[in-house]
């Protein structure tokens, strides 16, 4: 602990020697953590560093294998499903990333969702509105409680979400990346609300990677890595490079680092693209045979950039050229016809058709290639050609599946992802836009995906590789662009792609 003046505020939450392991992983190892009333603590760490596990211990969603979780003066005792209710009763509240509001109900109805003040089954609207107004006022919000949530801006919705956890008497409020989907001006409203909560004496855990915000509102920063609490430093003096060092630790120089290649002709030019509120004035080029990484924090506009290129989102200004020809405003299908391929961030929602087989999930991008020959028959599928084409993709991408027609929903995440990439190999795409292709994928599949991407590049494919894991970008990319504050903040070229510098560039201006 680096508290220099003795802190007399009471301790609200304490972890003592807490460990938690899941099959194959130590999620949290011997963690000691202490948080006082009115304190705002930022929690930093990469994916898998142990932040979520620690939060789940505090909320009672998980029971530690060893160690003690204490809220106020009371240790959590229940080891089962009652534990969460116990923690809730002691005043622990969480606001998660995904908003959980019902869009067409009013602010007040959302604040009291399921616990509406009522008399004989009839909701007492006057009471509800008055209490809602009071809850909003605590955050400095002056919205009418009768407004439907659908009429609010993203920041206002986030504030409603926070106001909801303030009802009752919370002692500890945990905010999980509350500003990740907000533009900077909007985010300030949320920061102001956090200050007010802390001023009431409520302890706040603030998970975020935006260093500017952390310096503004947090007292201190706890950095986690590999399931351990590495260090807690005062937020005001926290140096980004120091934070990065704590987050990444000492790491071996990667042997397999990409050497500068000899990319071919320019296939894609993006000029001054703007897509409010996420992107402004983005320009870059992509060459055949090149793997271009896009780094940036959650909500930095990575997905939006890919969508703008693919014609899924319409940029307000700027120009996109393919092979030197302007294609600005082209439809998604027109981009596919030009040889582009796109894999979405969320495999389940937008990647796979779970009930269909691996074969059909593969050949869906080009039915013509697996149809009977002859003009009249070209819309009729050929079972042997489907099997052969699927087999080629399965072998090439090392997809583990019992049969070519096994329903894709039964495969592991990594194998599903390989099929989703493989369908563009089947289609013969020459420009691939991969949005977080390694998310939720095991280590072995990750390595295979890196290898596939490099092989495709060697065959003159151009690849854009979006990733939120800075460790993997140097392993795959010839060049990396860092998105921050709506712009390309930094560009790095192999072999000088360095994860420390990448992470620092993602977090804050150097």
């Amino acid at each position: 602990m680096t508290d220099f003046t003795p802190d007399t505020r009471p301790v609200i939450a304490r972890l003592t020697g807490c460990s938690k392991r899941y099959p194959g992983v130590i999620a949290l190892s011997d963690a000691d953590f202490e948080l006082r009333a009115g304190e705002v603590r930022a929690l930093l760490g990469k994916n898998g560093a142990g932040k979520s596990t620690m939060i789940r211990l505090l909320t009672g969603a998980e029971t530690p294998d060893t160690g003690l979780v204490t809220i106020g003066d009371t240790p959590l005792r229940d080891a089962g499903s009652g534990r969460a209710a116990e923690a809730f009763g002691l005043g622990v509240r969480v606001v998660y990333q995904e908003l959980s509001l019902v869009m067409d109900l009013s602010i007040a109805e959302n604040l009291f969702l399921g616990r509406w003040p009522r008399q004989g089954g009839v909701i007492r609207h006057k009471v509800m509105y008055a209490e809602a107004q009071a809850a909003l006022a605590r955050l400095g919000v002056t919205l009418s409680p009768a407004l439907p949530v659908s009429a609010l801006s993203p920041a206002e919705r986030q504030l409603v979400e926070i106001a909801r956890v303030l009802i009752g008497s919370p002692k500890l409020v945990i905010l999980d990346e509350p500003t990740s989907s907000l533009a900077e001006a909007e985010a300030n409203k949320v920061l102001a609300a956090v200050r007010r909560i802390a001023a009431e004496g409520i302890a706040v855990i603030y998970v975020s990677h935006r260093m500017n915000e952390i310096r503004q509102i947090a007292d201190s920063v706890t950095v986690m890595r590999d399931g351990r609490i590495i260090e807690t430093v005062p937020a005001s003096g926290a140096d980004t490079r120091e934070i990065v060092r704590l987050m990444l630790g000492a790491h071996m120089e990667e042997q397999a680092r990409i050497q500068p290649g000899h990319p071919g002709a320019v296939v894609l030019e993006v000029q001054n693209i703007a897509l409010a509120p996420k992107l402004a004035d983005i320009s870059f080029t992509l060459r055949a045979g090149e793997v271009l990484g896009i780094a940036g924090l959650l909500g930095s506009g990575r997905t939006e950039l890919l969508q703008a290129i693919m014609g899924i989102a319409r940029p307000q200004s700027g120009e996109i050229r393919v092979d030197g020809q302007p294609v600005t405003g082209a439809s998604y299908r027109a981009m596919l016809r030009r040889g582009f391929g796109f894999t979405p961030e969320s495999r389940k929602e937008a990647g796979i058709v779970p009930m269909l087989g691996v074969d059909e999930n593969t050949v869906v991008t080009d039915f013509a290639a697996v149809s009977l020959r002859g003009r009249l028959l070209s819309r009729i599928l050929s079972a042997p050609r489907i099997a052969a084409a699927t087999r080629r993709v399965i072998d090439r991408l090392q997809i583990k599946t019992a049969r070519t027609d096994t329903p894709i929903g039964t495969l592991s995440g990594g194998n599903q992802q390989k099929v989703v990439i493989g369908r563009w190999v089947h289609a013969g795409s020459r420009v691939l836009l991969l949005d977080e292709p390694t998310r939720g994928v095991d280590v072995e599949a990750k390595a295979q995906i890196y290898r596939i991407i490099r092989e495709l590049a060697a065959e003159n494919c151009a690849v854009i590789f979006v990733s939120s894991e800075v460790e993997e970008l140097p392993l795959v990319c010839d060049r990396v662009l860092v998105l921050r504050d709506r712009r390309i903040a930094e560009e790095m070229t192999a072999p000088n792609i360095d994860q420390d510098r990448l992470l620092a560039a993602c977090l804050t201006a150097a």
């Binding site: 990647g351 009930m355 269909l356 691996v358 009729i380 079972a383 049969r403 289609a427």
Partner: protein, 325 residues
Amino acid sequence: MSAQAAPTRRAGLAGHMNELSLLAGIFVLYAVFAATADGFMTFHNQINILRDAATIGIAAWAATLIIIAGEIDVSTGPMVAFVSVILAYFLQWGVPTLPAFALALLLGGALGGIAGALRAFCDVPSFVATLGLWSALRGIALYLTDALPVSIGRNPVVDALDRSFLGVPPSAILMLLLFAVFLFISRKTAFGRSVYAVGGNPQAAFLSGINVARVRVMVFVIGGVMAALSGILLLSRLGSGNATAASGLEFDVIAAVVVGGTALSGGRGSMVGTLLGVLVITLIGNGLILLGINPFIQQVVRGLIIVGAVLANIQAIKRARARQA
């Protein structure tokens, strides 16, 4: 090729649970009606069953595609009646028979296309779009005809359509031929597989390059054409266009598809299942009439049997899956 329709098929016998339990149900229905209903097993009655099956079946093949695509069409009955009325007027005006048939099919396709376009391009839920057609088409047909049959006089082509061939009515033959066509479309064509993909995950289908809007419009166009075909057969059977005919047909069609194991949520289903579903619905209707049960009570029994069949089917599939796991 995967999926011969139901993905569960790969699980071997358990994958055929749906079809097997339907077959068992059909045997039970046959046994019960053969034992209790006079004249059920006669050749004449079996032909009647086939003819009735055609009325539901032809529309049900198209409805299967629509429901697999994640949509619904409730406009079938009024569409059939409307087309039969318009076709009768065409023939009264002296339009040659075959061109008149072609116009009728075109009209059906266009009406289905309207519903499909509302769904695909304006995001009107297909239930609402076809509900609008359901009301409007019945209304126009009744208004034009004052609810009276529109006679077409003697017409050798139309009469031929109702003349049995080797004892089998042409409508039944047409139904079976179309079954083969739809089975082929659903399993072997890029369009058919796209229907499954769109119903299973429209976003993934779109991102894979499938023209989702076109698939949605096409299934409704096909639905309209099949309804028009049923309208032509109705005209040949009754000898007149009838604004009040085919009342409630859409519910028999949807019931047949659902009893056949196709999921209303889309992405899952099979033509073979629908064929068996059509048989179940037709057998129930035919048997209850022969038993001389009060027509109002018939409706009650039918409702119970439909829900019971789907419930039993769901349970059977669940048990089969649990045994596998």
